[in-house]
């Protein structure tokens, strides 16, 4: 375990610059990590956090700058040299051997052995000792797969610390944890702090900062924009540092007059779905765009999916167009609901098929009118119609070409057009502009607004606050499976969104 005396500087990184393919992503960044202190590293996606951290762990080499560990200085590190110097990374995704025991996992890759034979007893005793020192109450003989996520993470940290660790880097460690587990992790981090371990804690969640961090470092667009004391710094200072001037630059769409006599198309009342979300109240009326905003894991996707018949709610009321919801995608589509999944490649696009075929795919379900024979002419004319309407950038023979040849933005347009072509009156869009370039993004937002003008009800689930600001009439914010706030038209702003979602 880290032997460093208090306040000793463990890591000092200065003037780090890094470019990829001619584009500079880090413009001279500094960072310090001290024994017995937690420094939180904040920043939006693309700010440079993971690049910086990968340079520290040796996965990348910086173009310039210096890295000082203890009393040695380097211009670059490799994964092996970083590990030798005691730098330990804990990634978001848990990578352990589920079928092996806790003790074996702690010593994964460095089993205690003599002459090629594993010394099981000694290993178990060592594991027990390590766990006791960290005051972790887990049986070293338990199978990893029997542990809960939070416990597995703790074991992973125990493994990292069990052999001459100087610096622990935690990447969004609470992303997959529930409330109790988060508290236990924080207590564990407190103990590590007392033992003098230096830690870098990467997070999105502003709420956690005060509880767990001593120092804060904020990156924006590859620059270091703020350092300070986590206990003293103001939340809005942090948001402003992370988001910058964009706070005011992102415009709101024009206010929409809603016909108050209409019934909601999606009505959720105290809706819960066992593990994913609880007590959600949500109404979506025809002709409006409602955004569900929250971080990954907040429950926004599951709530949206419930409206499409993909999540079976465990309690509460759910009505789609005044009736009980469909129990399957087929049922939902028959009722005029369309769903655009978040993972385009895995769940939405038929990459081996042409764009034209991708567009008309819902008509193969059989629930939109019984067809037996394919109507190629109709396929082509449908594609033409939407290619024009959505300005899909594709070559003249585009309808026949595989959709994989299109850019992300154009693919997304085709997939969106899929539901427009099917005449959906209710659209559920999950992360609609993920992986889409800026230009196509604006065009897609314009289409969404137009659809709402024509009376379509649109529910968007997104973790992109700019998207909410630019396209939604109103927003519902979720965190940890619960609704935290409902924002009316004039209440929607980046600050309000990040406040309510806990980061």
């Amino acid at each position: 375990m880290g032997n460093s005396s208090r306040d000793k500087n463990v890591l000092n990184v200065r003037g780090i610059k890094k470019s990829f393919g001619g584009v500079e992503v880090l413009h001279g960044v500094d960072l310090n990590a001290t024994a017995g202190r937690v420094v939180a590293l904040l920043g939006e996606n693309g700010a440079g956090k993971s690049t910086l951290v990968k340079i520290i762990s040796g996965d990348y080499e910086p173009d310039s700058g210096e890295i000082t560990i203890g009393d040695q200085t380097f211009t670059k590190l490799s994964p092996i040299s970083a590990a030798d110097l005691g730098i330990r990374m804990i990634y978001q995704e848990i990578n352990d051997a589920g079928t092996l025991t806790v003790a074996e996992n702690i010593f994964l890759g460095r089993l205690i052995s003599k002459n090629g034979f594993v010394q099981w007893k000694k290993m178990r005793q060592e594991a027990k000792r390590i766990l006791e020192e960290l005051e972790v109450d887990i049986n070293p003989n338990a199978l990893m797969s029997s542990l809960r996520v939070g416990e597995r993470q703790v074991i992973e940290i125990a493994r990292a610390l069990s052999h001459s660790a100087n610096l622990l880097v935690l990447d969004e460690p609470t992303a997959a944890l529930s409330g109790d587990e988060v508290d236990r992790l924080f207590e564990f981090i407190d103990r590590l702090r007392e033992k003098g371990t230096a830690m870098i804690y990467i997070t999105h969640r502003l709420d956690e900062l005060r509880r767990v961090a001593d120092d804060v470092v904020v990156l924006r667009d590859g620059n270091l924009v703020l350092t300070g004391d986590a206990k003293e710094i103001d939340r809005s200072q942090l948001v402003e540092a992370m988001v910058g001037s964009k706070l005011d630059a992102v415009g709101r769409p024009p206010i929409r007059e809603r016909d108050l006599d209409l019934e909601p198309v999606i009505r959720m009342n105290c809706l819960s779905s066992s593990a994913a979300f609880k007590n959600v109240n949500l109404n979506v009326f025809p002709g409006e765009v409602v955004a569900l905003y929250g971080k990954v894991g907040s429950g926004i996707s599951e709530v949206a999916e419930a409206a499409f018949g993909l999540q079976r709610p465990s309690s509460g009321e759910l009505e789609i167009q005044g009736n009980s919801p469909a129990k399957s995608p087929r049922g939902a589509i028959a009722k005029g609901v369309g769903l655009l999944p978040a993972d385009r490649k895995r769940e939405a696009a038929f990459l081996g098929l042409s764009s034209g075929k991708n567009l008309v795919a819902p008509y193969w379900s059989g629930v939109l009118g019984g067809n037996f024979w394919v109507n190629s002419k109709k396929e082509r004319s449908s594609f033409e119609r939407w290619r024009e309407a959505l300005r899909i950038r594709v070559s003249p023979s585009g309808a026949e070409q595989s959709i994989s040849f299109l850019s992300g933005g154009n693919q997304q347009k085709v997939l969106l057009a899929r539901w427009l072509n099917a005449g959906s009156q209710v659209l559920i869009l999950l992360e609609p502009t993920r992986g889409v370039d800026v230009g196509a993004r604006q065009e897609i937002y314009a289409v969404i607004r137009e659809l709402a003008d024509e009376g379509v009800a649109i529910l968007i689930s997104t973790s992109d606050y700019e998207e909410v600001v630019q396209v939604a009439d109103r927003a519902v914010v979720m965190s940890g499976g619960l609704m935290t706030r409902e924002l009316a038209y004039d209440e929607v702003s980046v600050l309000a969104l990040t406040d309510a979602s806990g980061g």
């Binding site: 994913a276 996707s301 599951e302 999916e305 993909l310 999540q311 995608p329 087929r330 939902a332 589509i333 028959a334 769903l339 999944p341 978040a342 993972d343 490649k345 895995r346 769940e347 939405a348 696009a349 038929f350 990459l351 081996g352 098929l353 075929k357 795919a361 819902p362 008509y363 193969w364 379900s365 059989g366 629930v367 939109l368 067809n371 037996f372 024979w373 394919v374 070559s395 023979s397 026949e400 070409q401 595989s402 994989s404 040849f405 299109l406 850019s407 899929r418 999950l430």
Partner: protein, 336 residues
């Protein structure tokens, strides 16, 4: 995201590595595939024509088509299944078993009844396969592998392991109703045409391609994946029984060893013809070319008096080449 694919389990779904889309060079790959097959077939035909005087004769052509007809009839629904990401390895054993059923019943209940029940058993085989794959959710490779062993065993049980002679059942397999073309060839060609039309011009065909290309997305656009795959397996079982009956008619007898090993040739032909083991790709024309390549190679080698054992080696090597080129194609393609 919690969308789980509650549809059917594809036969062989490997991890396809992600390659970034190319700079939109268009369908440059679609034409060359069938083209390459035609070239290979052409080269083989030329080679054997030159080395054997008997090769390029009408008689030989008809013989080759007749030989491949039985396998070919099973390869049509086999193609549909593979495009949907499934495989049916039980076809050969089912064919033999159905032949045994027909032959045995023909003795006691008459030929007509025997044929009817034989075909019904084939349909039942398909339904059973379909049930285990779509309802129970077992991988089709495993289900039909189990079927392969089981149906072979049943075929042996039916006749006590003996061959059963059948009288008066020569027409199906040996008659030449028109233009001197053998009946099996006519049936084969009809099956090819039907398969071609289904895959290319029907919504069912589109559903099959979609399910193979992306089972999750297929479910999310409302395609009834389980139903489609179930139907495909039923068709495969029926085709197997038809093939088995043709064999019995050709040989004049049913044996549990009929069609032994044909499933290998069926899969080889389909993959050689351009179908991908992970589904979403494949055509009837490709399968036909694959079948012809196999048959030309086999017949050619025979005419050159090459030992028949070499033909097994050749088949094995062909399958390896077919699957390897499928994998290479996937890795080099811009498909994500």
């Amino acid at each position: 995201m919690n969308i789980k694919d509650q549809g059917v389990v594809p036969a062989v779904k490997d991890e396809v590595s992600v390659a970034p889309p190319s700079t939109g060079n268009g369908p440059r790959r679609q034409l060359p595939e069938a083209f390459a097959l035609v070239v290979v077939l052409g080269a083989l035909v030329i080679f054997f024509t030159v080395t054997s005087p008997v090769f390029f004769t009408t008689n030989n052509m008809l013989n080759m088509l007749t030989s491949i007809a039985v396998i070919g009839i099973m390869a049509v629904p086999g193609t549909i299944l593979l495009v949907a990401g499934q495989v049916d390895l039980s076809v050969a054993s089912a064919a033999a078993m159905c032949g045994m059923v027909t032959a045995t019943l023909a003795e006691s209940l008459g030929l007509g009844m025997g044929i009817f029940v034989g075909l019904a058993v084939g349909l039942l085989v398909g339904i059973i396969n379909g049930f285990f794959v779509t309802v129970i959710g077992v991988n089709s490779l495993i289900v039909t592998l189990a079927g392969l062993a089981t149906f072979f065993g049943i075929g042996q049980l039916i006749g006590d392991g003996q061959t059963v002679l059948v009288q008066g059942f020569r027409d199906l397999g040996t008659s030449r109703p028109f233009l001197n073309i053998p009946m099996p060839v006519i049936i084969f060609v009809l099956a090819l045409i039907a398969g071609f039309i289904v895959l290319k011009y029907t919504v069912f065909g589109r559903q099959v391609y979609a399910i193979g290309a992306n089972p999750v997305a297929a479910r999310l656009v409302g395609i009834p994946s389980r139903r489609v795959i179930f139907i495909a397996f039923a068709l495969s079982g029926l085709a197997a029984s038809l093939a088995g009956l043709i064999l019995v008619s050709q040989l004049g007898a049913a044996s549990p060893n009929n069609a032994r090993g044909y499933e290998l040739l069926v899969v080889t032909a389909i993959v050689l013809g351009g179908a991908s083991l992970s589904g979403g790709r494949g055509t009837i024309i490709g399968t036909f070319l694959g079948l012809m390549i196999i048959q030309v190679l086999s017949t050619g080698l025979t005419l050159l008096n090459v030992q028949s054992f070499w033909q097994s080696v050749a088949t094995g090597i062909l399958l390896l080449i077919a699957v390897s080129s499928d994998r290479l194609r996937e890795r080099l393609s811009p498909l994500g």
